[in-house]
Amino acid sequence: MDLGLRLTVAASLCLMPALPLGLRLGHLQVVRRSALESRAAGEFARVAEEAAPRADILDRAGRVLARSVPSWSCFVDKAMVKDADAFGVRLAPVLRVPASEISRKTRSAGRFAWLKTKMDAAEVEALKRAEVEGVGIAPIQERVYPNGDLARGVLGLVGTEGRGLAGAELTLDKRLRGASRRFALMRDGAGHAIYKSVADDGRMPDPIRLTLDRNVQYLAEEALREGAEKHSFKSGYLAVQDPQTGEILAMASWPTSPLKNPLVQDAYEPGSTFKVVTALAAVDEGLVKPDDAFDGENGKWQVVPGVAITDHEGQGLMTLSQILERSSNIGIAKVVERVGPSRFYRMSRALGFGVKTGVALPGETAGELKPLSDLTKVGLAACSYGYGLAVSPLQVIGAYSALANGGTLMEPRLLYDGKPGARVRRIGSEGAVREITAILEGVVERGTAAGARISGYRVAGKTGTARKIDPLTHKYSTSAYVASFVGFLPASAPRWTVLVVLHEPHGAYYGGQTAAPIFAALGRRLLALETVTPDMPADVLALLPRSARR
């Protein structure tokens, strides 16, 4: 027998046992391949999902206002629990939840129940070590607001499923939410995961920058809170806007709620802060000259028989400046007679009243501006001093910002993109705007807004005090008021427009006594924060030593 034959026989004998194995293998691999593959996939393969964190919300300087952090929740599969009481007793020290509460949740209807949410990594490890049957752990993304309640009215709220429920979290929900990453995994016999591949890359959303300034927001909230302690008003809000760009720097409300932003959603009767609209219409159309005098009728004037307008103080002859400085209803009602309904209506619309501003927050109100056909003699007179219409705080601050920047209505912006502000329209001639601004400075210097003065700085603004409608009688209340002040500073080169609105202050209720001091308190802090040079020369000189005053 030659060597080749012997090797062939030996090899055949060695390979003989492998033949049935090979045939079986072929049968499993070829004939039953798809059935076995799907069975194995069901038992060993799985897809792990890694939830993409919701994007950060930042302030204009990139400081974090809202961020998502990984967290865990644990749940019970009631079908796997035989004794709810024993289950509760065993889990209570691990979860640090009363055993009775765990047992109660385990007995409730349905197969599934959450036992604890917002667990940290240490708690999860302890739970894993306890190896309690019937307990599952689900990773979630917890939304955290590192500054506490700061700007919560603007930021809003996120639900347990990671969807925005209110505020910017709701409006920007699509941009803030990412898509989960998915991984294909295998599980070995001991249940350990083996990484296979990335099934889906997901999407990590980019952070969103708001125009809010965290420090300005804090100062605004502090000023409002201090005001609340002093005047114990029912509710109040304060907004700060950059008049040059329309960017909203702060939106504060008191009491704070993440579910509601009254600065966008509330409309109110503005009272005397609306007199500026009448005055601007009159000056812009050249209908009133600076030295034109209007009779104050000693505090009471019959517009039509049976309908009288009153002033809080009796006045004689007044110029337009004095009408605004003394906040005379009769005076401005006489001015609006010259203006007429169509010009008044046109100016109101030009300043943005009666339409939504389009700010990126939910539930914005357009306010209510009477249609031109409803502006009768009495209606027009009432509107001239801010009654019989409703405005949103954003509209008011936008209108005053337009005066502050020299006459351009800017779109109020909440999303920061580093671009110059969007201009909406011109509101009047440069000369008219300048004249009204000078009058508003006079209101602070000599008029009703003395409380808004800031030593060393020029301030322009207007007070407002309006009676509220009594919800029971549907008539104007004699005890409930809306006190407000809106102004800008420093008046020589305005950097901030500030609106303060207080509902139902107790004790003193005039805007000049309640809202204006809040404006001044905030203004002082803003000026110090930005180290703005004083723009009132007399005060600057007073600061210098005598030898240097030349």
């Binding site: 974090v64 990594a121 590192p146 506490g148 700061l150 804090y218 100062l219 502090e222 802090r525």
Partner: protein, 112 residues
């Protein structure tokens, strides 16, 4: 069929290939375990970093800073208590002009 040295070599080659494929499979599984462990570690570390960042932001929040300042006895500054000092480099003489040229950009930067 004759089983010569050539066939033996081919069989050995095939065996080596099978062994290589087995080794590759084992190695892929081992790496799969490692990747999964690394992924878990990365997730834990990422979670810790996120928590620490939030803690940092909480410490830097204006309310927290204000509370700490109050504990130290500090009070909010009034705007008229601030003095803005401007540096105007003297430009007289050769050295003065030389220094002025060098200081001008710094002064401009401090103003901005």
């Amino acid at each position: 069929m004759e089983f010569g040295p050539g066939a033996a070599t081919r069989l050995a080659g095939a065996g080596t290939l099978v062994l290589f494929l087995c080794w590759q499979h084992v190695e892929a599984t081992r790496l799969g375990y490692q990747v999964e462990t690394a992924r878990k570690t990365a997730r834990q570390k990422g979670s810790r970093v996120a928590t620490l960042r939030v803690e940092l932001e909480e410490r830097l929040s204006p309310a927290e800073v204000s509370a700490r300042a109050q504990r130290l006895g500090l009070v909010p500054v009034e705007p008229d208590a601030l003095r803005r000092l401007e540096v105007r480099p003297a430009a007289s003489g050769v050295m003065g002009r030389w220094w002025a040229r060098r200081l001008r950009p710094l002064v401009a930067a401090s103003r901005s």
